[in-house]
């Protein structure tokens, strides 16, 4: 027995988010993107719809849904725009979920409700100027001083870290050394506005231009001892599990972008004519679109399979890495082909495919590069480094 069908409620959610993306996001996003403006109004509406609380239980202000619900929402948003989708993805899977999974009752009570409502955003600071893939090489340090942690160091490329509604960043930091000389990495909640916690100006980016990405620096940042998230020295293991989930979410987002390329190409191929016929009547274009559909479909199955294992509580590390790898490739390839189908207009910001092209590349980099996914898959196959 195998069943990859989506139940009625998840399907209704998908339809709702699709309508939202089409009616609310599509008309305004091109402009926000070009002006590199964070989509506050859209985020507020998404908050009202409960999207930021999808996988979070009602007792913490969430919707009591599951991670797959979040994935479907991300797919439908990214079908229209990735900046909005990544804002949701990072807000939930990197901002709120670590608090939900590893937080104490007090931490959850304090931080989760506004994050689940989308009235506040949480960020997750792992990557440093010196490297992201080798996350164990963290240089940021936190030293215990009485009832406080004192944090020094810096982070790069942190999503949602500098918006007007950002409430915190969970930063990984070295908190000591094991007996065998290994660094002990922990996660520490640093509330926005804590003295010594500086957020840089927004980066100028190739894509995701309506999303917020910043560098962070910590200079003698003092936070209460209870801001430690989870277990001291377990920060590395904690974020590995956070990232496993996050990969399924990024895969869903990538599938959305890939699907958006198919949607746009189908419309354009039927409208645009060259040499007396619709370009969609030429096999060269038909095959391109067929290939795009194949990639989208395959990638969707890959993330459904990973999500299904995740929801059943089975190990899904390998499946998550495969889904992320396949889906980000599909997004990149489809964006390239869709832009080609649009010809010169594909290079213009006025059409969504140009934006898709710019937004696709980061999917092969963020939350683990394609190389890192292959490393994970190889490791899961028992190939030791």
């Amino acid at each position: 027995m195998i069943d990859l069908s989506v139940d009625e409620e998840h399907d209704a959610l998908r339809a709702t988010v699709r309508e939202f993306a089409r009616e609310e996001v599509a008309p305004v996003i091109g402009d926000l993107y070009e002006r590199e403006e964070f989509p506050y109004a859209l985020v507020a509406k998404m908050g009202e719809m409960g999207l930021f609380g999808l996988p979070i239980p009602e007792e913490h202000g969430g919707m009591g849904g599951d991670y797959f619900a979040l994935c479907l929402a991300l797919e439908e948003l990214a079908r229209v725009d990735s900046s909005v989708a990544i804002t949701l993805e990072a807000g939930v899977s990197l901002g709120a979920m670590p608090l939900y999974r590893f937080g104490t009752a007090e931490q959850k009570e304090r931080w989760l409700p506004p994050l689940a409502a989308g009235t506040a955003l949480g960020a997750f600071g792992l990557t440093e100027p010196g490297g992201g893939s080798d996350a164990g090489a963290t240089k940021t340090r936190a030293v215990r001083d009485g009832d406080s942690w004192v944090v020094n160091g810096s982070k790069s490329f942190i999503t949602n870290s500098g918006t007007d509604i950002t409430s915190l960043v969970t930063a990984t930091a070295v908190t000591g050394t094991d007996d065998n000389g290994r660094k002990r990495i922990s996660a520490i909640i640093i509330p926005s506005g804590t003295p010594g916690f500086e957020v840089s100006r927004k980066y100028s980016k190739v894509g995701w231009n309506a999303s917020d990405t910043r560098g962070l620096s910590f200079t003698d940042v003092r936070v209460p001892a209870e801001n430690l998230l989870g277990t001291e020295g377990r920060g590395y293991a904690q974020f590995l599990s956070t990232l496993d989930e996050g990969r399924v979410a990024i895969a869903a987002l990538s599938v959305g972008l890939a699907q958006g390329c198919v949607d746009e190409s189908l419309t354009y191929a039927a409208e645009r004519s060259a040499f007396g016929h619709n370009i969609g009547s030429y096999q060269a274009i038909q095959f391109k679109i067929a290939d795009m559909e194949v990639r989208t479909h395959t990638a969707r199955l890959a993330y459904y399979a990973a999500a299904s294992k995740m929801l059943r509580g089975q190990p899904f590390k390998k499946e998550a890495a495969i889904a992320k790898l396949v889906a980000s490739n599909a997004a990149m390839d489809n964006a390239r082909d869709a832009t080609q189908i649009f010809g010169g207009y594909g290079f213009m910001n006025e059409y969504p495919v140009g934006r898709f092209y710019r937004d696709a590349k980061i999917l092969e980099i963020g939350e683990g590069t394609s190389e890192v996914q292959r490393m994970l898959i190889a490791r899961e196959l028992g190939l030791a480094g």
């Binding site: 009625e8 409620e9 209704a12 959610l13 709702t16 309508e19 939202f20 089409r22 509406k45 009202e48 719809m49 409960g50 999808l54 009602e58 919707m63 009591g64 849904g65 619900a69």
Partner: protein, 261 residues
């Protein structure tokens, strides 16, 4: 605490291509995605706003084929409390008068109705007559084309918007209100609402359950039928205005000429 009935209709999505069937010129419901009519979303929203402010109960009422359950579910997931669905093959091809009779009978099945809210016109049939016919059949005052609705005790005040301007209406409950595009911005259902909708009661009725004879409804005894339909002719090429510094004035002239401003 007003007891409100909202009329909802499942219509073909305006995003998809809509067609009439070749055989009897009724709506080809399979040709397009079906959705809850947008104007009905506003009707539901208005009912929910009244309920949130004053309490009461919101019942959605739909006359339509089995597929209309999707539109009903959407209204329930937005926050309506329960639903009545009149579904009967005998209804196929019913005219506005027949449909209104069925709706009136179904409204009668809901206890102690204070207010019936409808959209002023469905995006498919566009007859725009059902709310008025229904008010007549129920013997309720009709307050159509509402842009604003206020309920004070047993009085309802409505601001009606037409091309000519605003009219302020007042009536006592129970009443029928039809709302226009500008009444509100409908909410999107949350996942919690979607999950909750599953457990809300939907009563399904046939025309016989309403005490109506099947011969009184449907295409055969309809007071009006569609005899012919043709797609709109493709739009003719527009008129170009060359801007030689006086573009604004020329456009204004054109719009005045067309009686658009």
């Amino acid at each position: 605490m007003p007891n409100i009935v909202v009329l909802v209709k499942q219509v073909p999505d305006t995003y998809s291509e809509r067609r009439l069937s070749d055989s009897d010129h009724t709506l080809d419901r399979d040709s397009a995605d079906a959705v809850l009519d947008e104007i009905n979303e506003r009707a539901v929203e208005e009912a929910l706003l009244i309920k949130e402010a004053q309490g009461g109960e919101v019942t959605v009422l739909s006359v339509g084929p089995d597929r209309a359950t999707e539109a009903i579910r959407k209204a329930l997931s937005m926050g309506a409390d329960k639903a009545v669905h009149v579904s009967d093959p005998a209804l196929h091809g019913s005219c506005v008068i027949q449909t209104s009779k069925v709706i009136a009978a179904a409204v009668g099945k809901v206890d102690g109705v204070d207010l019936v809210i409808a959209g002023n016109e469905a995006t498919d049939g566009r007859s725009g007559a059902v709310p008025a016919i229904l008010a007549e059949l129920l013997g309720y005052p009709q307050l159509t084309h509402a842009r604003k609705v206020v309920i004070e005790g047993t009085t309802i005040k409505v601001t009606r918007e037409t091309d000519e301007g605003l009219t302020h209406l007042e009536a006592s409950l129970p009443a029928v209100v039809s709302v226009g595009e500008k009444i509100n911005e409908p909410r999107y259902p949350s996942f919690k609402g979607i999950m909750a909708a599953k457990k809300k009661p939907v009563e399904t009725l046939t025309v016989a359950d309403l005490g109506i004879d099947a011969g009184e409804v449907g295409l055969a005894s309809a007071t009006s039928t569609v005899v012919e339909a043709a797609p709109k002719p493709p739009r003719a090429a527009g008129q170009k205005v060359e801007d030689e510094g006086d573009g604004g004035a020329k456009i204004a002239e054109y719009l005045v000429g067309q009686k658009l401003i």
